[in-house]
Amino acid sequence: MEDKSIIKLYFERNEEAIVQTDKKYGKLCYSIAYNILNNREDSKECVNDTYNGVWNAIPPTTPFNFTAFICKITRNLSLKRLEFLTRDKRSANFVLSLEELNEILPDERYGVGVNEEDVGKLISEFLRGEKEEIRNVFIRKYYFFDSVKDIAKRFSFTESKVKTMLFNTRKKLKEFLIKEGVTI
């Protein structure tokens, strides 16, 4: 079903909206949640929370891009939930991704007057200037928290190529953020 039709169902308060959302985006939401939470039950609950969040948000919100809208909700809810999990439950891939991200711009290096949203805009600007494949490999790794193995499979690259691409993009993004003056 087209996104517009699904959104229409939400506006009509028709519970079929959730069924159709699950049909179209269930796997994607689950994979985002699982990459972050590394636990089936937690991930399922998180996906259900996502549907609940979408149900409560639409209306009045009319998402311009429903795919991004639902991905954002799932990612945010999963990260929130993760804060309360013990170390034993964390995914090694996810933890490493966070460490790699943190090396680009550690929290304590966020300049004053710079918030997460500002940096998000700059990262968008940076990524828009990158080659399509480089950009998507980076987003798959650090937005969707896919493993290097999964990314290599998706893009038909070797794992070593993916690692090199990610390293170079992190390096370049760091230079970009320094240039933009967001670090202290």
Partner: protein, 411 residues
């Protein structure tokens, strides 16, 4: 678990980027020669343009001997293994009486803050690689209470001769400011002295508060101020003053403690951001008092470490030679620094082969330079690579990147 801000920032990238990556599958494209040439030309121009816009620092401002070269420092970090981590950098966990603790900071704490001994316990250390492989190292250590601090919140663990503060690892924010005071007497542990107005960089105004007692008095009257779960709370779009809060007892350094004109106390003194609604009246009372009872002062950067710059000339057992002739206007004025490799935080770059002869580096140190005995740099504790962007004469059509080598990180 604390999520780095940049991971949150990434969550706010453009919708079209998210949607594209969500559905992305590799496409087959034909790469005719003109197409490849065009892409190469585009990329080359891109690199030059990037280099031209990078203008962070200027070598001549560091040392008068240096040529006027723009450069910028790059710190792409390594994930170091256990043996290449200094004790201060190692992660540990311990559980005592059902409470899990984790390291509070990398700073050691003085013996004067150490209270009675709790006992000797096994504690568990791990680096990132170990975490991936689900391994850990067991160390047996003496554990102590901290004077006048609840054992439920903080403890001290002794490694060799040094003590480190560990905090309760559970994420459990207090419901009110009063509950925070009851858990940890921050009025005694933190001194509010240096603060800035609407920012804390070089462009903001910086002040020293004469006495913080009045501020703490007002805050202690706000015990019922509720904890607010407002994420993200955008401090920087508000009017506020921000104190630099450090605590020797807890090993915390330059944490943020801000009061906003619209009535909030925002702080990261306990790592996670805590926000309390203290009300406009109280907040403005604090701000007015601070402004009236302070003197303006100079900006102090977050990282105050000294640095020497140069090219790695030789790596030998026990020290590294760094030569800055390449940066000098007059080559005869170049200095070769002899830097002992007695600190793993510096030595590991050479030990692991990350840094090699010929690379341009900036070395952080906290000791002195012994000029009498061959420019020996004492207390080297970090290293970062830098890139030079040399500007050619005006007649030249293009500028070029003079030296670009691989990137290493400073910890």
């Amino acid at each position: 678990m604390k999520i780095p801000k940049i991971a949150i920032s990434l969550g706010q990238i453009g919708d079209e980027l998210i949607a594209e990556a969500a559905c992305f599958k590799k496409k087959r494209i034909s790469t005719s020669k003109p197409f490849v040439a065009g892409i190469c030309a585009f990329l080359t121009l891109g690199i030059i343009a990037t280099a031209l816009f990078v203008n962070n620092l200027n070598t001549s401002s560091i040392d008068k001997r240096y040529k006027k070269l723009d450069f910028y420092s790059l710190n792409i970090g390594h994930v170091w293994e256990w043996e290449d981590l200094a004790e201060s950098e190692r992660n540990y966990e311990v559980e005592i009486d059902g409470v899990k603790y984790e390291k509070n900071s990398r700073k050691t704490i003085d013996e004067e803050f150490i209270g009675e001994k709790i006992g000797r316990f096994d504690i568990f250390g791990f680096d990132t690689i170990m975490m991936l492989e689900d391994k850990r190292i067991t160390v047996n250590c003496d554990i102590y209470k901290l004077k006048n601090i609840s054992q439920n919140e903080f403890i001290a663990i002794k490694f060799g001769e040094d003590y480190y503060c560990f905090k309760n690892a559970e994420h459990n924010p207090p419901k009110t400011l009063g509950e925070l005071f009851d858990r940890v007497d921050i009025t005694e542990l933190f001194e509010l002295s240096r603060f800035s107005e609407n920012g804390s960089d070089a462009n903001a105004k910086h002040f020293i508060l004469k006495d913080d007692e009045y501020v703490w008095n007002i805050l202690s009257e706000c015990r019922s101020a509720e904890f607010v779960d407002w994420d993200p709370f955008n401090l920087y779009q508000r009017e506020y003053i921000s104190f630099s809060a450090s605590s020797d007892a807890l090993g915390l350094y330059k944490r943020e403690f801000s009061i906003t004109k619209d009535g909030y106390l925002h702080t990261n003194i306990f790592s996670s951001a805590y926000l309390f609604k203290i009300g406009k009246d109280r907040a403005n009372e604090i701000i007015a008092y601070a402004m009236e009872n302070s003197t303006e002062t100079e900006f102090v950067p977050f990282d105050e470490s000294k640095k020497v710059y140069g090219q790695v000339k030789e790596i030998v057992d026990g020290y590294v030679l760094i030569d800055d002739t390449i940066l000098c206007k007059n080559k005869s004025k170049g200095i070769t620094y002899k830097i002992p490799t007695d600190d793993i935080r510096f030595y590991r770059y050479f030990k692991t082969g990350s840094t090699e002869v010929g690379e341009l580096v900036a070395v952080s140190y906290d000791g002195e330079i012994d000029t009498q005995n061959g420019y020996v740099v004492k207390g080297a504790f970090g290293l970062s690579e830098f890139q030079l962007v040399s500007k050619k004469k005006k007649s030249d059509k293009n500028s070029t990147v003079s030296s670009v080598s691989h990137i290493i990180g400073e910890k």
